[in-house]
């Protein structure tokens, strides 16, 4: 059974205006998405700014009120606060944020930052607590002398690792990582991603990995979904998405990644322009009159694409 099941999730924000501040329209931030996360799996959510990927993450952890749909965790419905409280949900689901500096309390020492979730959920004696915090710091490669430092004393990569240590302190089953490495440099990004993978193997954690960086998602995730305008345009395994993309939006995103192969950069640029052109001319076929992404069609066991109906039959 899958750990998390998201069924037809919708999050709409009202737009109010006029004298009585009446609701006259909605922003369809997330508009009917379905996906499942298996235990121990890393699921990738890819999308550009404003596509709704962060909103999905926030709805799953309960920071966002959902308009309709269902979120099942271990088979239990966790769509409302009451249901979440009954389940130790806040212990089992944790989050890693993008900006490591603003997500750590500047007035607290690292020891207290990591111990805070432990104090909330587990009754440990002082020595046990200290032991556990040390163990956690050790798993992310920080030492005993870092215990009583403040967040500002660390570099960006170290702070993000502290964020990881705090997230795993309660032995969660699911960690939602919202752009965990996009503020980091390349070499430091590698460190954090390596620790995340090691921890996953060690504790069998599932990740929901939210990112706009297609290279990082390809590295981390076995299956993933591409979002555009609040809906999924394509979902499938790494191989489906990167080697056999079918939706024009996916193709466009993939073509826009700059290539480190210098010798072929002109060819790459030409390819990108062609894809861009196809996207402009064929856009109307892949989106309905209101600009909504079409419903997903299954093209293989693992691969679903929001294709126009005539195209599915053709292939």
């Amino acid at each position: 059974m899958s750990l998390v099941e998201v069924k037809d999730l919708k999050v709409h924000y009202p737009i109010r205006s006029g004298f009585f501040n009446r609701i006259h329209d909605y922003v369809y931030a997330v508009d009917g998405v379905n996906f499942e996360i298996e235990p121990g799996q890393t699921y990738g959510l890819i999308g550009e700014t404003g596509s709704g990927k962060t909103t999905i993450g926030r709805s799953i952890i309960g920071l966002e009120k959902i308009t309709s749909g269902k979120i099942l965790f271990d088979g239990h419905d966790v769509s409302t606060k009451k249901e979440r409280n009954a389940l130790h949900y806040n212990r089992d689901v944790q989050m890693i944020f993008q900006d490591s500096l603003s997500s750590l309390n500047p007035k607290k020492r690292i020891y207290d930052i990591i111990a805070e979730p432990l104090r909330n959920f587990e009754k440990l004696s002082d020595t046990e607590e200290k032991h556990r915090v040390r163990e956690l710091l050790d798993t992310v490669g920080l030492g005993d002398d870092d215990l009583f430092k403040y967040p500002f004393e660390f570099s960006g990569g170290q702070r993000q690792r502290i964020g990881v240590a705090r997230a795993i302190s309660t032995n969660p089953k699911l960690v939602i990582a919202d752009e965990p490495v996009s503020a980091l440099d390349l070499s430091v990004q590698a460190q954090v991603l390596n620790y995340m993978q090691e921890i996953q193997k060690q504790f069998n954690i599932s990740y929901l990995f939210i990112s706009h960086d297609l290279g990082v998602v390809r590295h981390m995730c076995d299956s993933m979904a591409i979002m555009h305008r609040g809906r999924f345009v394509e979902l499938g395994t790494r191989d489906d998405i990167y080697n056999h993309p079918q939706h024009i939006y996916t193709k466009r995103l993939l073509a826009a990644i700059p290539d480190v192969n210098v010798d072929e950069r002109d060819a790459h640029r030409k390819h990108r322009k062609e894809v861009e052109k196809v996207f402009d001319t064929e856009q109307s076929r892949y989106y309905d009159k209101n600009g909504r992404v079409l419903p997903l069609q299954k093209v293989s066991e693992t691969h679903s694409v929001a294709l126009p109906e005539d195209q599915v039959k053709g292939e």
């Binding site: 570099s155 440099d185 390349l186």
Partner: protein, 332 residues
């Protein structure tokens, strides 16, 4: 390659911390020509932006010491007066910043913001300035320039704002454009468009562009020449194919190795040990990259690292590149 536009020789930029001065840019020499895109790459804290600010004269001279030589069109920029910089900035040098929202005035209409540059540097008539603004907006690929000209920054998307910044930077057709992380805050598809735009502007205006970035993909896609900086120093410099096809310095090679690769998805990524030392703890002697490759014996490094030129136009700092291999013996 065009004529020489900017020459930097043995530039030191140091900041005051307490009572002492620390070199954030340490002995940097480079050249940029017309019709050329020079990329400066490195991690945060490597002195990329400090270098750019030294060129364009944005440092607070009460707390900063700049020494060395920056030659721009037969003028010496080190120690130049603020008045002189006022004349140069905008007219002969343009700057593109990372965060387009912070770089635009939220209370001014787009047209007025672009006109500001023209007001300062030219004495064109009002109608001519208006015409130029519309031309610029068209040149940076914005549809319906008339409408955009009347809008405010908050009404535009991130990519459009960055186009406005570029329009301001090129308003007086500067010879040199400095772009400091111009696409870091943007989505990949927008990033590709902005890079295309920079290239086309360079082709039209025959300007030299200094592109500062930490994204190796952007460099490989856009640059002609590459300068790799580490801890305030230039560790390697050469053409884009030299740097990406035959990287020499251990830092460049480690950086290239830590990019997630398609065929090795899911494997452990190569991570460089440790981090860039902070300004006040910068080592003075020896190879600054040595602490991050501890398995390399001390004898491989130079006591006082010097620039070597193993092939024409390809420079590398310190001798450690000659024998360097990764810890597991891999040679990349």
């Amino acid at each position: 390659m065009g004529e020489e536009l900017l020459t930097i020789d043995h530039l030191h930029t140091s900041f005051k911390r307490g009572t002492k001065y620390y070199d954030a840019v340490d002995d940097v020499s480079l050249k940029i020509h017309k019709d050329e895109i020079l990329a400066i790459v490195g991690e945060s804290g490597c002195g990329k932006t400090t270098l750019a600010k030294s060129i364009i004269g944005l440092h607070d001279l009460k707390r900063t010491k700049i020494s060395g030589h920056i030659g721009f069109e037969n003028q010496e920029l080190v120690g130049a007066s603020p008045e002189k910089f006022d004349k140069l900035r905008g007219s002969e040098m343009g700057m593109i910043f990372q965060d387009p929202l912070a770089a635009l005035n939220p209370l001014m209409r787009i047209e007025d913001q672009i006109q500001e540059v023209l007001d300062y540097h030219t004495d064109y008539s009002k109608s001519k300035k208006h015409k130029i603004v519309l031309e610029l907006l068209d040149q940076v690929g914005l549809e319906n320039p008339e409408r955009v000209a009347r809008q405010f920054p908050h009404e535009l998307s991130g990519g459009m704002r960055q186009r406005i910044i570029i329009a301001i930077a090129i308003a007086c057709k500067p010879e040199l454009i400095i772009a400091d992380e111009p696409t870091t805050a943007l989505d990949v598809t927008i990033q590709a468009q902005i890079l295309d735009l920079l290239r086309s502007i360079q082709a039209q205006n025959h300007a030299g562009i200094i592109l500062i970035t930490h994204d190796l993909g952007v460099v490989a896609d856009t640059a002609d020449e590459v300068v790799v900086m580490y801890a305030g120093q230039v560790v390697e410099r050469g053409s884009v194919s030299q740097i990406f096809n035959h990287p020499l310095h251990p830092y460049t090679r480690s950086l290239l190795k830590s990019i997630p690769q398609a065929d090795r998805a899911g494997d452990r990524l190569y991570a460089i040990e440790g981090s860039v030392p902070p300004l006040t703890k910068m080592p003075h002697d020896g190879c600054r990259f040595a602490p991050r490759i501890p398995w390399v014996p001390e004898s491989a490094h130079e006591k006082k690292p010097t620039m070597h030129e193993p092939e024409k136009g390809h420079f590398v700092l310190c001798t450690c590149y000659q024998t360097f291999e990764f810890e597991n013996g891999e040679v990349v």
